[in-house]
Structures are given as C-alpha cells and as structure tokens.
C-alpha cells in the first residue's frame, strides 16, 4: 500500500481550465462535492507525479477540524490533483488489498481508535502526519472476504450516490420546464411562429395561447405578483412548549431540495411550516449562497418549525407544490430577492413582503394543472429518493461495524475462501 500527500499549488498556478485541484473542503461527510472547483491553468498531469487521484484511492483529510474525514475516489474525481491537506492510501496489489475495503476500514472502529490517538496528540490544531499514517495497523481478512465486504457496502453507497444524481436530474427538469413555460413563454413563442412546442403532447399544447396580448404577456394571461400563486409565511399555530420537528439554518442545502432530517424540539419561536412547503433563507449570506429546501419529512398535517430567518413559501390551491421551489431556485428570482435585502451589511435580510410583490405572469388555471401533473411526480420521486438514501445509509452504518469485526459474515466469501484453502 502506498501512502502519499498532496501537491502544494501556488495561487498563480490556479484559475484556469486544467486539472481540478482537489481541496480538502470538497470532501464532505457525504463524499466529494465538486460544484465549482478550482482548476489549474494548464493540464500537465506529468507535473504532479503520483499526486493525481486514481480510481480506488482512499483519501483522508489531515489538517484542521475535519481531520479524519475519508473519501473514496471514483469517476467523478479521478484525475484531480490532491491538495496538501489530503493524504491518499493506494493499494498497490489488489490481490492482497481490495481498494474499497481499505476505504471501509477507514470508517471502522479499528481505524478511528488509532486516529484518536494520533490526530489530537498535540495542543495545536488537529493534524495527521504522513509518518503517523505509516504507523497505522490494519487487520486484513482474506482477500475474498475483503471483496465481499467492499461489494456489499459499496452497492449501498453507490445507490445513495445514484439517488442524489437522479434527484439532481429530476430537479433540473422541473426547473427547466418552469422557465420554459412561465418565464420564457417558449410554448407561446413556438405557437406564434406556427411551430409545435417541444416536449409537449397535443392536449397540453392546446392549453397555451398562440399569441401575445398588448401587455407583452401570453394572451389571456394576467400580470400579477408572486402573491397570486404563493402564500408567504402562512399563519400556523403551534403552542409554546410543544415538541415539534425542528429545522435549523444549517440543515438547508445550497443545491438540491432535501434538508437534513429535522429533530424534535420544544417550540419557542420561529417560522412554522408543513410538508412540501418551500423554505428560503432570507439572511445574508445564506440567501446569496442559495440555501433553500422543500420540507419532506413531516407526516400528514404535522407542523414543523425552524429558524426565524426562513421565508416559508406555500403553493396556493391549484398550484403545483413544486412551483414555489422552482421559483426559489430560479437565478432571476434569486437576483430579485437579493435586491430586496435591507439592513446593515452582514445582517442584511430579504423582505418577504417585497418578494411577494415581485412580478409574475399568471397563467390560466389549466396550465397550472398540467404543470402540476408533470412536475409533482418528479418532486415525489426526489423526496422518495432522499428517504431511501437515508434508509440505505442507516443500513450501511449498521452493517459496517459488524462486517468489519467479523460478527457478521458473507456466505459467498466464506465459500470462496474455503475453496481456495
């Protein structure tokens, strides 16, 4: 096994379109997140020697408070250049060490015990040196068992990741449809030119007018405001002291719609919401960063509560529950919402009242019904994928220690081992 560290990049080398510079910050608990990574000026892999991510590497952060966070290199980060705050463990002989087993071992009690003794041995910020890493002791089962464990846990992780990608695709489709129909009026433009609107059956096409009125809107549509479609901060009552699901600002993602799971907390004061409401962070820099979520973990008419810095957006009757979310993630809307911010710098807040007064073309009711018919199942699938991912993760977390300790065995692997011996 080879243990190495990363490449000390100079600022002047970065800012181009070359290889990705894999910063330790990109390694989250849920895996690598490369939304908008730093890149090198030039793509000369030769320059970085063996500090380039190879498929199958296990990666560990070695400095700062996230020390000990681990990741596994697959397609998405293959070929990136490690930063100096990352170390990698590379199996040089896959017949002796299964690479993915190495990764799951780094999440086992055996490793965490040793890490505790090393990374925090000084008073300084946590730091795990290469020398310390070379002192790690690994118990390696037979290669067949390693492969079995890696394949079982790996299938669960792969599905979790797939769910995330699938949700991202579904969401992008919903948002693209929203823009096409309600902002760009693409179906109306197409009909006005005598063309057939894209991605639409004849019944849906017929719902759209084929010309624009004198006000520049599709004929028959009305100029309105967001408040015509969405209820902002709807009134809900929750008696003080009642334990109810609680979401803090931290739980909201900057992309995607799934928040972290809420936890029960006695209500004091804050915003109140129900299942499928959209939450929009209103304070700087959370709004600018895009913190937004759809509430997807409440039961029936249960009321949850959260940070006072949320704006709750609820679809009015007849409007798709996905619409407030599509709007909240739309770049034009976000730019306008940011414009409503007032207050001293650092504590700037968007104003729900002014947001509710933003202009919106109000389509005829059947258009909204058609939109809801197409987009609501997409949203439901995203919610289901999120819930499934949470289940898969708890299954993985329950299996991992038992598989690693040998308490739980994999029959297939046993059999293989027996055959070899």
């Amino acid at each position: 096994m080879k243990v190495g560290d990363g490449y000390r990049a100079k600022n002047s080398e970065l800012g181009g379109n070359g290889l990705v510079f894999l910063r330790s910050a990109y390694l989250q608990d849920s895996g690598f997140r490369l939304d908008d990574p730093d890149r090198f000026q030039v793509a000369e892999p030769g320059k970085f020697g063996d500090k380039i991510a190879c498929r199958g590497d296990s990666v560990i952060t070695t400095k700062g408070n996230s020390t000990g966070r681990v990741g596994y290199v697959k397609g998405s980060v293959e070929g990136a250049v490690y930063s100096p705050h990352l170390s990698y463990w590379r199996s040089m002989d896959h017949r002796r060490i299964e690479p993915r087993f190495l990764y799951y071992w780094s999440r086992s009690a055996e490793f965490l015990d040793q890490l505790g003794g090393m990374a925090f041995s000084t008073d300084m910020a946590p730091y795990l040196s290469l020398r310390d890493q070379l002192r790690l002791e690994i118990s390696l089962p037979e290669i067949g068992i390693q492969q079995g464990i890696a394949a079982t846990l790996g299938a669960l992780d792969d599905k979790i990741e797939l769910n995330r990608r699938m949700s991202a695709t579904l969401e992008e489709m919903a948002r693209a449809l929203y823009r096409s129909w309600f902002v760009d009026f693409a179906p109306v433009h197409a009909r006005a030119l005598g063309q057939t609107p894209a991605h639409m059956d004849a019944t849906t096409v017929a719902l759209f007018p084929d010309s624009f009125g004198p006000d520049g809107l599709p004929r028959g549509w009305e100029a309105g405001t967001l408040a015509d479609l969405i209820e902002f901060n709807p009134k809900e009552s929750l008696p003080k002291g009642t334990a109810a699901p609680y979401l803090e600002m931290k739980a909201l993602p900057t992309s995607g719609m799934s928040a972290d799971a809420p936890y029960l907390r006695e209500f004091t004061s804050g915003t109140k919401f129900r299942e499928r409401d959209t939450l929009l962070a209103r304070i700087t820099p959370c709004l600018e960063n895009g913190k937004t979520a759809v509430v997807d973990d409440l039961l029936g008419s249960e009321i949850g509560w959260g940070s006072t810095e949320f704006i709750v957006m609820r679809a009015k009757p007849g409007i798709s529950v996905a619409l407030p979310y599509c709007i909240a993630r739309d770049p034009d809307f976000r730019a306008e919402a940011i414009q409503t911010m007032t207050g001293s710098s650092g504590r700037q807040r968007a104003d729900a009242k002014r947001i509710s007064e933003l202009n919106m073309a109000i389509a005829l009711a059947p258009v909204h019904t058609a939109f809801s018919d197409i987009v609501s199942p997409m949203l439901d699938r995203v919610v289901a994928a999120g819930q499934e991912a949470r289940n898969l993760a708890s299954l993985r977390d329950a299996l991992l220690p038992r598989l690693m300790s040998g308490e739980l065995r994999i029959r297939e692997a046993e059999k293989q081992v027996e055959e070899v011996v």
Partner: protein, 506 residues
C-alpha cells in the same frame, strides 16, 4: 518583477499583522509622500542654481502646481530615518506639515503611522520599497502611480468584500459610462464620489480625445471620511483640481452644492439603502417624479441627480437591477413619471459578476435633462423625444484572468455599447443607428407603456432571452431525459445487486 507583484509580496508579508483595509491607507499615504516628495525635489534641484533662497520659495512651487514639501516631510529626510523606531510619528508629523502648507490638502492625509498598534517595521519596509520605485517627479509618473492606486483600491476592495465595493466602481464600468456620456467640457459632478475613479477616468478620456483639462471643472461629495481622503490624494497626485466636499450627513440630506447645475453627472450610489432619512426628506422639492420610498434610496439618488443637471445635462448612474422593474412602494409610479417626462435617455443591462465581492448584476441609467437637443463633442444631437434606447449587455464580459468570480468588459465591448448609443443620439462620427435583435432597440414610449413602464432591456431587445444558460430548452430537456433513463436503469440494477448482497449475509 512587476510593480503589482512587488506590492503584493509586501502586502502578503504584512497580512498577518494588519487588516488589509488598513494596510491600503498606510501604503497609499506613503506612496503619496513619495510622489510629491519626488516632484518637489525635482523642482528644488532645478531652482537651486539660482540660489538657496529661490529654492526655498514656496511661490515658485505653487506657480507650477507642485506641492510645497517642508524639510521634515521630504522623502530624503524620511528615508534617512526609516530604521528609526519613531519613524511612524515622523511620518504623521510630515503629513501634518504638508497639510499646514498646502491648503487644498487640509484634512486629506492619513495620520495613522505612529499608532502603537502599527508595527514600525511595516513603515520601514514600505519606505524602503517605495524608495526603490523609480519616479521622475513629472506627470509621466501618473501611469505607474495610477496602476499602484488602482491595484490597492481594487485589490483591497475585492478582499474587503461588499464594503470594499462601496468606494470602488470597477474600471470597465467607469470607462463605459465615461465613453457614453463623453464629458469633454463643462462641469462634472459626482454626488457620491468614493475614491474619485470617475473623475480620474474622465481626465484620461479628455487626454485621449485631445481635450483640454481646463475645459472640465470637477465637483464631488463623499460621506465616508477615509474614502474622502483617498479621493483627494488620488486626484491631487494627478494634479487634477477638483472641488470635493465632505459632510457626515451625506449628499441626500446635506447637498454640498445646493445652487449648482452641472453638464455631466456620474454616479455609482450605494444600492438599496434604507437608512437614508427618507422620512425627514419626504417633502423635498427634488422629488419631481414622486416621493421615493422610505425603505429604499434608489429613486432618491436618481431624482437628486436629475435635479442637478443643467439645461443640456446628461447623467450616467449605476443602479441596482431592481430599479428597472420594482413596483413596490410607488417606485413603479416614479419610473413611469420619469419615462413620461422624457428624463430617461437609455438603459443598459450589465452582466453579473462585474462588481467586487458581490455577484449581483447591475444596470446603468442614462438620464438627460432635455432629449430634444443636446451637444456632444460640439455636434448637435438628434431630437430623441418619444424614444428610449435599450441595450442588453448581459451576455458580454469574460472572467478576469486568474479569477473565478470576477468578470470584466473588454475594450471592444465597451466601444460597441458606446457606439450604439452615440449613433442612436445622432453623433455624426458614430455611423447610422439600427436596432439589433438581442442587443439594442430604440423603443417608443407607447411600447414601454405596454410593458407597464418596466425598463428591463431584455424585454425590448428580444431574441436570445430564452437561452439564458446557453443551452436551449429542447436540447436541455432531451439531455436530461436521457440521463434520467440511464439513472433509472442503473437504479434497477443496483437494487438487484443490493438485494443479492443482503441475501448473502448470514
């Protein structure tokens, strides 16, 4: 090593011990001393053959537009004492001595060098660094000084985030406004002048166009006292004579030039400010088009600026995008009144990411006092009543090399926008004007009324608006559908795999 790199290296060394915003004032203050010291020395050496008395005669310097630098404040004196522990106090005293002898610098120079919290080795280091920069003591130095000033003001604006942006308008935006309104001769006014970049840029514009400096008189007001000092040094160092005023109340509440009218106004007022004393000013006579909302000063700034324009005056104002379309709190009515009264000449939508520390896109309002006439570069302009020119520049601009967040407009892009405007308003050397779908459109007031007086250029120039992210909807949806199918298939396979794996556990 370029001068920018040298400065950056020096700044880097000090970064640990000092807040970058503070470092900027320390460094620029010393650079100012270095330049006026060199200019002084040059004149001094010229005069010395005529006798020491002549060389020490203040009037000789004033006559030449050179600042008089008293003995203790001369660079040679400071450089000789650079390693002295008390160098900071000496520099402060030098600043005071210069102010005492040069009325126009009164209160403009920083006196922050002798404080206990400032490590004297920083002052020593900077004096050594600046001693090594070769200065000539003539306007030839302005290029270099300009680069250093711009480096500090923009570099540290980007480090300080939003607040830094308060006093610095990015250069391409300044150039664009200057190129559009062409301040050649007359009176130029900046109601919130920041570090004075508009004024400096218009001087450059004048030089490019062979105008005469004396033809343009410059006025400005700034509320932030430190920035005000920066502006005065920035202008003084280039020998630009400007009348810049400061008061703590700010331009809207206490106008430093209440009885003046101007030919040109350029401004980048702070966006969307709510604490502008809108309640106190509710009855102000400047609100010709309607009382601006207490919660947002955008239309207060625009009406103040319009009020300052002389009979053929023209203004370029950088504004928050919301100003083009907001309907809340009566802003829609003010906008309508402005259009109907022919106060709006042109609207330009800018790309995002042009400003330091914020991604938000902005726009430029070109206001004109009388669209029926006007003069630009001695040519009589076309009667433009009944029309507004819309330019959509949102797709222009490219990332600044080495930055992932900051865009800039190229010289060609600036020229394209300015030329379209010049052609539209009928300047003879700009060629004929024609609408260009997706870029510019001269819209009639009736058309604007149809859009409910919303002035977002995208609505008028048409075309291309549907392809915001560069990928047309049809292609995007095809791609996403294919991806989703593959993901569903992969999901089914993985589900089977998981079931089999779990099955095998005993």
């Amino acid at each position: 090593m370029t001068i920018e790199k040298t400065l950056f290296a020096a700044a880097d060394k000090m970064r640990g011990s000092m807040d970058p915003g503070e470092y900027k004032h320390v460094a620029l203050g010393l650079l100012f001393l270095r330049y006026i010291g060199t200019a002084f020395q040059r004149k001094y050496d010229e005069l010395l053959p005529e006798g020491e008395e002549v060389a020490e005669d203040v009037d000789e310097y004033l006559a030449d537009g050179i600042f008089w630098v008293p003995e203790a404040a001369r660079w040679s004196t400071l450089a000789a004492n650079a390693k002295d522990k008390g160098i900071g106090v000496k520099v402060d005293n030098a600043m005071r001595a210069i102010e005492a002898d040069n009325e126009q610098l009164k209160g403009a120079l920083p006196k922050v060098f002798g404080r206990e919290s400032l490590d004297p080795t920083i002052v020593t280091g900077l004096i050594d660094l600046f001693s090594n920069i070769k200065f000539d003591g003539t306007p030839k130095d302005f290029d270099l000084i300009g680069r250093i000033y711009e480096y500090f003001i923009s570099e540290f604006a980007s480090n300080e985030g939003k607040r830094g942006g308060d006093f610095h308008t990015p250069k391409p935006v300044v150039e664009l406004i200057v190129d559009m309104i062409e301040p050649m001769k007359g009176r130029l006014y900046e109601p919130c002048c920041g570090s004075g970049s508009f004024m400096v840029q218009s001087e450059r514009f004048l030089e490019h166009h062979k105008g005469r400096r004396a033809d343009l008189a410059v006025y400005g007001q700034e509320r932030n006292h430190t920035t005000y000092g920066l502006a005065r040094m920035n202008l003084a160092i280039r020998g630009i004579v400007a009348n810049i005023q400061w008061n703590a109340e700010g331009t809207l509440l206490r106008d430093a030039f209440p009885d003046e009218k101007f030919d040109f106004v350029m401004a980048n007022p702070p966006f969307n400010i709510s604490d502008w004393n809108g309640d106190i000013l509710a009855e102000d006579r400047r609100w010709k088009f309607g009382t601006p909302p207490v919660g947002n000063a955008n239309f207060a700034w625009m009406q103040h600026i319009y009020d300052k324009l002389g009979s053929t005056g023209i203004a370029g104002v950088v504004m928050a995008n919301g100003s083009m379309s907001s309907m809340s709190s009566g802003e829609g009515d003010i906008r309508r009144a402005m259009v109907e009264a022919e106060a709006v000449d042109a609207m330009i939508a800018l790309p995002g990411q042009l400003f330091y520390g914020t991604q938000i896109p902005a726009c430029i309002w070109i206001l004109a006092k009388d669209k029926s006439n006007g003069v630009a570069k001695d040519a009589k302009l076309r009667d433009r009543r009944g029309e507004v020119l819309f330019i959509d520049a949102r797709k222009m601009g490219a990332l600044v090399p080495g930055s992932r967040k900051q865009k800039e407009l190229s010289r060609d892009e600036i020229a394209r926008i300015a030329t379209a405007y010049h052609a539209w308003r009928g300047e003879p050397d700009a060629g004929a004007y024609a609408d260009e779908p997706g870029f510019c459109k001269a819209a009639s007031i009736e058309e604007i009324a149809k859009h409910n007086y919303v002035l977002t250029p995208g609505r008028y120039v048409g075309a291309g608006a549907a392809e915001e992210d560069g990928e047309p909807f049809e292609e995007k949806f095809d791609r996403l559908t294919a991806e989703l199918r593959a993901q569903f298939a992969e999901g089914r396979w993985l589900e089977k795999e998981i079931e089999a794996r779990l099955e095998a556990l005993s």
